[in-house]
């Protein structure tokens, strides 16, 4: 199930990138900055959360991988127009990647944040809830960006 959600997030991000890449001649630099930082933060949160659920690594390796992925997403979405959009997308993508990794680690081990310990079943339920929720956030962001080209 997490593989399906992960591939769905990846598919939404790639579709959004192709759509923006096709229309990159028509927007100004302020709009490109806001667009890159919105999409890179939300989609890097979702993708690194699913990577934390799927891959069994320890904390340091996981943080290195997720910061590289977040920075790469921000770089990709920011490099369409000018350098200020690249800077905004890179910094917010890296922040989003690290935050998604932290959220996944806290969900899998609640005593990391001194929350009371759950049963194993409650942890799996929380993982499913957060997976669906972040996919919904990415879909909502896609709809808002699609609507932004109409306004």
């Amino acid at each position: 199930m997490f593989w399906v959600m992960f591939l769905m997030n990846l598919y939404i991000s790639v579709c959004l990138y192709l759509m923006i890449h096709k229309k990159r001649k028509i927007f100004d630099d302020r709009f490109s900055m806001i667009l890159s930082y919105c999409i890179s933060s939300v989609s890097s949160i979702a993708i690194t959360l699913h990577i934390t659920f799927l891959v069994e690594l320890d904390f340091v390796q996981l943080s290195i991988v997720s910061s590289f992925i977040g920075g790469g997403i921000g770089w990709l979405f920011g490099s369409l127009r000018t350098f200020q959009s690249l800077l905004a997308g890179f910094s917010h993508g890296m922040i989003g990647g690290l935050m998604g990794m932290m959220l996944g680690a806290v969900i899998q081990d609640p005593s990391l944040c001194s929350l009371p310990a759950y049963y194993q079943r409650a942890i799996e339920l929380n993982m499913v809830i957060f997976s669906i929720f972040t996919t919904g956030l990415t879909t909502m962001m896609c709809g808002m960006v699609y609507y932004a080209f109409r306004v």
Binding site: Y37, C38, S114, L115, N126
Partner: protein, 137 residues
């Protein structure tokens, strides 16, 4: 008396009165100031709400995170919708990110009651700054 519920109610009253104040002067505010206003209002309200809710319900981590994300999202979008569509997007994304972070910070603070007072004073100072900037900006 339950202090946390009173704090939540005071937060709602403060943010509604601040919204009405900014709504009156919305034609005088440019897009740079509008972008910063929407970022600040959404993120600090989401931070305060998330910390208060995780203190009150420490067992429901998932539900508290979802509620605080929605609070930040809706507040940032409402403050941003006064000015422009792009300020709406900015407030929306900041509310999402801070709302995801806030219950983790509240749980990592070991349920200490002074931390809530710190968050409350930060929220009040930021709302005062928003009001004064919309007045003299």
């Amino acid at each position: 008396m339950n202090v946390l519920g009173v704090m939540l109610y005071v937060n709602a009253l403060l943010i509604v009165s601040c919204y009405m104040y900014v709504y009156r002067d919305r034609t005088l505010i440019g897009f740079q100031l509008g972008m910063n206003i929407s970022m600040m209002a959404g993120s600090f309200l989401a931070m305060s709400t998330g910390v208060i809710l995780i203190y009150q319900f420490p067992l429901q981590f998932a539900m508290v995170t979802i509620i605080s994300v929605f609070v930040g999202m809706i507040t940032g979008s409402l403050f941003g919708a006064l000015f422009d569509y792009q300020t709406l997007l900015t407030g929306y994304v900041n509310g999402v990110m801070v709302g995801m972070m806030a219950p983790m910070i509240g749980a990592a603070a070991n349920f200490n009651l002074q931390f809530v007072w710190l968050m409350e004073s930060v929220l009040i100072i930021s709302l005062l700054l928003i009001v004064s900037s919309s007045r003299y900006g």
